[in-house]
């Protein structure tokens, strides 16, 4: 049995014991400590920390989760690592990101599904009442959950588009992938009354409530979901701070959630919305280009230092991060685990 000290970014020390044959992640969880993780098999990199002292061996993992150079710099994966001595680790997150109870696993009923533009679906789920969790939908606006088809072994992560509530309602926007197992289910078999398993909530992509900066949301496709959740939350709290939404899709027929955006504009009069289409047909009157380009233009025309919440494909996150480099604002994004 070895001692493991996980030091978080905000200076807290989380200690647990580990046997050499168990992974550090399993050892932590045995002690009711749940550091961020996702795939649990060396594939996603979510559990990455830096070892500052001690000996560690690693099971097989994917290069995408831990590059050669990162490993050389001492980084390691909690889900693959085994302690061979007492170990001290540095976590790249605050203590807040570590849970001290197992992640909820709950049953939900599919209550409605409908197309959202040409290439996405809108799902409404209802948590079932259970003695451990009740029926409330508790999460932080911006978080995601993993949806599992019972018996099928298929699990996919999607952001929650609704706000926390006591009725147990959840809304998701799901992009349909041509070959995706979950997408195939949605296209071919899904029907109201189906039962799904919801793992989570998870994720750190949530509003920085303490910040007083204007909030800009930059979203591509179904990356709109967490922004909807956060903006809806602002509407519920009658938050008066300045906010903008840059929402982009590839083609005009892919535009969706117009009703939700209209409702937000009514509830948040200060919200300004820029709809962006990358490759529009001739009669498109909105912005032509990506939401990152629209945001960069807006940044160039202002002295504001907004908090920028970006959600979408990696290329969008990259473009936004580059546009904001040099101090034009703080960028928040979710490092999504490719599942």
């Amino acid at each position: 049995m070895y001692k493991v000290n996980l030091l978080t970014r905000d200076g807290a020390t989380i200690a647990f014991d580990a046997e050499p044959e168990e992974t550090l992640l399993a050892a932590a969880e045995r002690a009711n400590i749940y550091p961020p993780s996702s795939c649990r098999q060396g594939g996603c990199g979510v559990c990455r920390v830096t070892a500052v002292s001690g000996d560690i061996t690693l099971d097989a993992y994917s290069e995408a989760a831990l590059s050669e150079s990162a490993r050389a710099a001492g980084e390691t994966l909690l889900c693959c690592a085994h302690a061979q001595s007492d170990v001290t680790l540095h976590a790249p997150y605050d203590q807040q990101a570590v849970a001290f109870a197992p992640e909820p696993v709950r049953r939900a009923t599919l209550v409605a599904l409908e197309p959202a533009g040409a290439s996405a679906m809108r799902l409404q789920l209802q948590y079932q009442d259970d003695p451990e969790h009740g029926r409330a939908a508790q999460f932080l606006a911006g978080q995601f959950a993993e949806l599992e088809l019972p018996g099928a072994g298929v699990k996919r992560a999607y952001s929650i588009a609704s706000t926390p509530n006591w009725d147990g309602a959840l809304e998701f926007l799901v992009r349909l992938q041509p070959q995706g197992a979950f997408s195939t289910y949605l296209r071919e078999r899904a029907a109201p009354g189906d039962e799904l398993i919801v793992h989570g909530p998870k994720g750190q992509f949530t509003l920085d409530d303490a910040s007083l900066a204007p909030r800009w949301f930059v979203c591509g496709g179904t990356g709109l979901a967490p922004a909807l959740s956060m903006l809806r939350q602002m509407a519920e709290f009658a938050d008066a701070r300045a906010c903008r939404l840059f929402f982009g899709v590839n083609r005009v027929e892919e535009v969706f959630a117009r009703d939700a955006i209209d409702a937000l504009q009514a509830a948040l009069p200060q919200l300004s919305v820029t709809l962006c289409v990358w490759k529009p047909e001739s009669d498109w009157r909105g912005f032509t280009g990506t939401p990152a380009e629209a945001m960069a233009q807006a940044l160039a025309g202002t002295t504001e230092q907004p908090d920028i919440y970006v959600c979408g494909p990696p290329a969008l996150i990259d473009a936004v991060t580059r546009a904001a480099a040099g101090g034009a604002g703080r960028v928040f994004c979710e490092q999504f685990a490719p599942a």
């Binding site: 409330a136 508790q138 006591w166 303490a210 007083l212 008066a240």
Partner: protein, 554 residues
């Protein structure tokens, strides 16, 4: 930011005070600066109201606003910067109204109104960045370089004591008890602070005047609580949960608790008190609700763990809130002066949403093993057995009383209070109040002279009860309070405790043991004054302090 108002303030070789981006309590720099500005504008209100009052014109709404505004700035109360921007604008409007009131009163009295300067003339910027740029004018230590730490420290004692007075007076006010003398004292202190006082003498006098005002505030609060809910009576309280849906109510506000008990009537939801709401169980009109099920958890500094584990919604009334963790952020509600950005706030005493949340959350799935403690030894209960007490003292059965009262906190050194309680001899009685008692209130102290050795007198808000008991005992024995076989061991954490200390000093109570550390704003010279004039003693080692107290009494 700079703040050194509470006991957990950052301490280093260079001195004490939270001066970085975030204080030890989690208060961020913008919020801290905005709080300073809010109080600065309130000083301006005080400048006009004192003068108006001298001409018999008053503005009760403005006075009430001051109480609320000050309460929001206590440690662990309100951390929502946006709220302070709004309160500052409101304060400026009220100040302008106070000016008009004063000028009219002066003209009516055929006098020329004075033109006032300082906070009275301060124009707060319209937005956050503008306000933050003005923070220097309102900073607690703004004149330290010129006037030195003693003057600045004594100003801080007045300002922080005033915060405590305002908090107590606000608690009383929400239940309909107001005292004009308290408002006059608050305005007077604000006016004094607005004049940037440089002499130690008037500041010390003002601190003692605030001690008297605080006595009045605590008396009003006692009247408010007992008037609304009856006289506390000894009550056995369950401290372990029972099966069923549940709401947890923390803080100090009996009125909010009452509203929640009403809102949950007939819903099957059990209501638990947390922290300083424990004494609520001893009030006849509150304990009459059968679904006031028990007390859950310990003192405020354990809340992050306890709230995370509580299977229902949590309502935080008044102080002491710490950063809501993600695991319960969605089901914690603030009420009254309390606030945290991104947390639901109930401004209108409508708790229906909380009931809805309780019904949707799991609640306790099983009964825990039954455990109980006894609370409710307020002044009526103790004086109800005064004969017994007096006989026990006369017969020697009771040798001494130790009042171990005040706040708890997370800082090291606080074991002193539990060590102290545990080491008190069997022929002594421990009176306690405030959340510091959570360190020992589940210990078994047995009985003496037919009385429980541990008598829980209530909240930190109930110091009045303790003083009444002390006064009555001294009358019965025909001696002064300082000659009674009674020692006060006060643990301070925040500004309500600072106000109580001023009250003790103002009433001439000597030899108060204060800890676990002395307030950082008190310089060595100021501590000398407190020691010399009032016999205030820092806490030392528990057993030695007990021996010294018993030796002094012998």
């Amino acid at each position: 930011m700079f703040c050194y108002q509470c006991e957990q303030t950052y301490r280093s070789e260079e001195g004490a005070g939270c001066a970085s981006a975030k204080g030890m309590c989690g208060k961020d720099a913008a919020t801290a600066d905005l709080q300073d500005i809010l109080l600065h504008v309130c000083e301006g209100i005080g400048q006009y109201l004192t003068r108006a009052r001298a001409l018999s014109a008053t503005d009760a709404e403005a006075d009430r606003f001051i109480l609320f505004a000050f309460f929001t700035t206590l440690t662990n109360v309100n951390f929502n910067a946006a709220k302070f921007v709004q309160l500052i604008q409101e304060a400026a409007q009220i100040r302008d109204r106070a000016r008009a009131l004063y000028e009219k009163a002066a003209r009516d009295a055929a006098k020329l109104p004075e033109t006032l300067h300082g906070p009275a003339a301060f124009v707060p910027a319209a937005d956050m960045n503008g306000l933050l740029a003005q923070a220097g004018e309102a900073a607690v230590r703004k004149d330290a370089a010129i006037l030195g730490d003693d003057v600045v420290g004594l100003r801080a004692l007045v300002l922080y004591g005033l915060k405590g007075v305002c908090a107590y007076a606000h608690h009383a006010r929400v239940l309909g008890e107001e005292r004009d003398a308290i408002y006059a004292a608050v305005e007077h202190a604000l006016d004094l602070l607005a004049r940037n006082p440089k002499e130690l003498g008037p500041l010390l006098d003002e601190a003692l005047a605030l001690g008297h005002a605080n006595f009045a505030a605590m008396e009003a609060l006692d009247a408010a609580n007992t008037g609304a809910f009856g006289m506390p009576e000894p009550t056995n309280v369950r401290v372990t949960p029972i099966k069923g849906k549940a709401i947890l109510v923390s803080g100090h506000d009996m009125k909010d608790l009452h509203a929640i008990l009403e809102a949950t009537k007939g819903t099957g939801v059990n209501v638990y008190t947390h922290g300083e709401l424990l004494p609520a169980h001893s009030y006849p009109k509150l304990k009459a609700y059968p679904h006031l099920a028990g007390n859950y958890g310990g003192a405020w500094q354990d809340q992050q763990k306890e709230f995370a584990e509580f299977p229902g919604p949590i309502v935080m009334t008044s102080n002491c809130l710490i950063e809501p963790q993600p695991r319960y952020r969605g089901r914690i509600f603030t009420a009254g002066p309390v606030g945290w950005a991104g947390v639901r706030h109930i401004a209108d005493e409508d708790f229906s949403q909380v009931v809805q949340a309780a019904l949707a959350l799991p609640g306790f799935t099983a009964d825990a093993e039954e455990k109980r403690i006894t609370v409710g030894f307020g002044r009526a209960a103790v004086l109800g057995v005064a004969d017994k007490v007096i006989d026990a003292v006369k017969s020697g059965a009771i040798r001494h009383f130790f009042m171990i009262g005040g706040c708890d906190g997370a800082a090291p050194g606080r074991n002193y209070y539990s060590d102290f309680a545990d080491a008190t001899p069997d022929d002594t009685v421990i009176l306690t109040l405030g959340c510091g008692k959570y360190r020992f209130n589940k210990h078994d102290f047995g009985t003496v002279g037919g009385l429980p050795r541990l008598l829980d007198m209530g909240q930190c808000n109930d110091a009045y009860s303790a003083l009444v008991v002390a006064t009555k005992l001294s009358e019965a024995f025909g001696v002064g309070v300082n000659e009674l076989p009674l020692s006060l061991i006060v643990s301070w954490f925040e500004q309500k405790a600072a106000a109580v200390l001023l009250t003790l000093l103002a009433l001439g109570v000597r030899n108060v043991r204060l800890g676990p550390t002395l307030p950082a704003f008190l310089t060595p010279a100021l501590v000398d004054v407190l020691v010399g004039k009032f016999g205030v003693l820092p806490v030392g080692e528990a057993q030695a302090d007990i021996d010294a107290a018993l030796a002094r009494a012998a």
